[in-house]
């Protein structure tokens, strides 16, 4: 049944294309195009990649903060949280679990929860062209942390900022291993204009996105 449906549709496509058999050379050309994807025309950057990344991210209504090293991350997160005596209740990607989080905080090192005040995740790349960050799913990097929190804090190494989306794909391809289950490119907070054309933030995802650029 399933096979029959597949054959029907493919036969219709081939008939529509004139039922022409591809030569070995033609197939090799198509394979080459898939294995070494060509890079087409891309928007010229107006600045060096890191500066343009920051400008664009801010234009997308992200807040951007720079820290010298990952050791400064916990104090940076503390500044984002409501003042004591409230005990922080946040989620952190397991990829960042080793950073010396205070023992008295309640931290979920796992998938996102239904109510999620703040999550901290690690991006694999930043894209200067659009000021976006690229996050990939992995056991240490759950996708739900990108969408469920009210505030999404994304940590990004300054060295990981690339010029264009194609450069981010190249990085992910070069990582080796299998292509990730989920890749999220995020360019700002969640929003909608479906009620009266008025832009409202947030819709279903984070109300704010805070980028922490780490210099080393």
């Amino acid at each position: 049944m399933t096979e029959a449906r597949r054959d029907t549709v493919l036969a219709r496509i081939r008939a529509a294309l004139g039922d022409r058999h591809r030569t070995r050379d033609e197939l090799a050309t198509l394979d080459r195009r898939l294995n070494a994807p060509p890079v087409g025309v891309r928007p010229k950057l107006h600045d060096d990649p890191l500066s343009q990344f920051i400008t664009k991210a801010q234009a997308n209504l992200c807040t951007v903060e720079r820290i010298a090293s990952l050791q400064m991350l916990v104090p940076a997160i503390l500044r984002l949280l409501p003042p004591p005596p409230q005990k922080p209740d946040i989620s952190v990607a397991p990829a960042l679990a080793h950073l010396g989080w205070p023992a008295d905080w309640s931290i979920n090192f796992g998938a996102g929860r239904r109510t999620e005040p703040l999550s901290v995740t690690l991006a694999v790349a930043g894209i200067a062209e659009t000021g976006s960050v690229v996050l990939r799913s992995a056991p240490a990097s759950p996708t739900t942390l990108n969408f469920l929190p009210d505030m999404h804090v994304v940590v990004l190494r300054a060295d990981d900022v690339v010029a264009h989306t194609e450069d981010a794909w190249a990085r992910l391809r070069a990582e080796g291993g299998d292509w990730p289950r989920t890749v999220n490119i995020i360019a700002g907070p969640s929003r909608t204009a479906d009620v009266g054309g008025i832009i409202v933030r947030p819709a279903h995802g984070p109300k704010s996105v805070h980028l922490v650029l780490c210099d080393s």
Partner: protein, 473 residues
């Protein structure tokens, strides 16, 4: 697909009197048209990108079997499943079978025009499933039991007041008993209702802006984050997509994504671009247990074979309708088809049958703006003209129109006679409008002159003016 393209003209004559609709549609005229123009002007490479986008789609379509098979292989290699559906009924049956096999009760849906085209919600609801649209706009039209009136902005026809009434009626059971009129408060209700739905969903259905043969991924773009939560939190993720959605590589998708965001919303990128590739991997803390892609033909191979192939380049940005004087005058619902506006006037007769949509190709002034703004350069006016021609050949055009066109073509193919007739026509029209310079009533065009005057001709015929101009040095 629910198509009622037959009574287009009777619905169209009511639209200009709908003040609410006119107000909402005017937002498109100003906001989106201007935003697109700004975004395009800010990108010197834009024209080159349009050519690149059209070339990528043409290359893919010319090798569609190859790329779909490669896409399938990449999905299967990563533990997903690909299903092929020749028509709407088969596509629905495939999804229904997955729901039955997995014991599903609730379905969350990201925006998918193909799912609307195949009537998926109705099919699943008939099986007793609870189906919820998660995109705020799609959710609103679902509650109102309406169809989207625009492929990108489904609620462009609805006022805030109407949405307020709708939520007041439906959200009491979710604990919202006050009537609210503020857009932010209304959206906060949607957010709260959907959080519960995402977590309780058995099946999450999304569309695909692109399918990538290189990796076996589907790509969706959203500003809300709804499709992204839909495909991550449900136990099973099903993608419904037309066969023309495949592109060779991620780099090709990047070119088209740049065109899509600028053409649809006048922005450089949406808040979210999400690639899903297969089910949850070992050790993953989230993600679906099953991943399925349903590839839908439903009339597309018919377009692939001939003159309508360029229509399959369409990336569903909606720019053609935002710039269409007919769409802007009558609104999306007048088309009574899932796909309104210029792209819909071509797609609907190809997907449904000619006779079910026989007025749609005529809802066009052939002004050409749609083709000018189309990010992948689809020659929409040519395709509409061709559809009209096919309708004539197939005998769908009847009565006064057929008779009138017959007279016209007889006359237009006899140049000498044509010149005499037009010269005479100009004189008669001038005489009719002799007192005011305008004609208030024309025989045989009473409906047209009932709403406006025809300006009387101000000189001679075009042929005469042209001949005179050529004689001048």
């Amino acid at each position: 697909m629910l198509v009622n393209g037959k009574d287009f003209s009777s619905r169209a004559s009511k639209a200009p009197a709908d003040a609410g609709l006119q107000q909402q549609v005017s937002n498109l005229k100003t906001g989106f048209v201007a935003a697109r123009a700004r975004a395009v002007a800010a990108l010197p490479e834009y024209e080159a990108m349009r050519d690149a986008g059209a070339a990528i789609k043409d290359h893919t379509l010319a090798n569609l079997d190859f790329y779909l098979e490669r896409f399938e292989r990449a999905v299967v290699d990563r533990g997903g499943h690909v299903h092929w559906a020749a028509d709407a009924e088969e596509a629905c049956r495939i999804v229904r079978e997955i729901c039955t096999r997995t014991g599903a009760r609730t379905v969350t849906k990201g925006k998918s025009m193909v799912s609307e085209e195949i009537g998926l919600n109705e099919a699943l609801e008939a099986d007793g499933l609870d189906v919820v649209e998660t995109d705020a706009g799609e959710y609103i039209v679902q509650l109102a039991k309406e169809a989207p009136s625009h492929i990108v902005m489904p609620t462009v026809h609805k006022t805030t007041n109407e949405i307020s009434d709708l939520f007041f009626e439906h959200h009491r059971r979710h604990g919202f008993s006050e009537r609210v009129t503020d857009a932010a408060e209304l959206i906060a209700q949607v957010r709260s209702v959907m959080r519960e739905k995402y977590f309780s969903a058995d099946i999450g259905i999304t569309g695909a802006n692109f399918l990538v043969a290189e990796t076996g991924s589907n790509i969706i773009v959203t500003n809300e984050g709804n499709g992204d939560l839909t495909c991550t939190l449900a136990r099973v993720h099903i993608v419904t997509a037309g066969i023309e959605k495949v592109v060779p590589t991620l780099n090709d998708a990047s070119v088209l994504l740049r065109l899509l965001a600028r053409s649809a919303l006048g922005i450089e990128t949406t808040s979210y671009t999400t690639l899903s590739t297969g089910p949850r991997r070992p050790g993953d803390a989230d993600g679906p247990e099953e991943y399925h892609v349903v590839l839908v033909d439903n009339g597309r191979t018919k377009m692939l074979s001939g003159a309508f192939r360029p229509m399959l380049r369409c990336i569903r940005c909606g720019a053609c309708m935002n710039h269409c004087p007919v769409y802007l005058a009558v609104g999306g619902h007048t088309y009574a088809s899932v796909y309104p506006g210029p792209m819909g006037a071509v797609l609907t007769p190809m997907i449904a049958r000619h006779e079910a949509a026989n007025e749609l190709p005529h809802a066009c002034t052939l002004n050409g703006r749609c083709q000018q703004v189309c990010p992948v350069k689809i020659p929409l006016p040519d395709l509409l003209r061709r559809l009209r021609h096919e309708q004539w050949e197939d005998g769908f055009i009847k009565g006064r129109s057929r008779w009138g066109l017959g007279v016209w073509s007889w006359l237009a193919t006899r140049p000498a006679l044509y010149r005499v007739a037009t010269r005479l026509g100009v004189q008669v029209l001038r005489w009719l409008g002799r007192s005011r310079g305008r004609i208030g009533h024309l025989p045989l065009a009473g409906e047209w002159t009932a709403g406006r005057d025809l300006p009387a001709p101000q000189g001679t015929t075009f042929h005469a003016a042209w001949a005179k101009r050529k004689r001048q040095p």
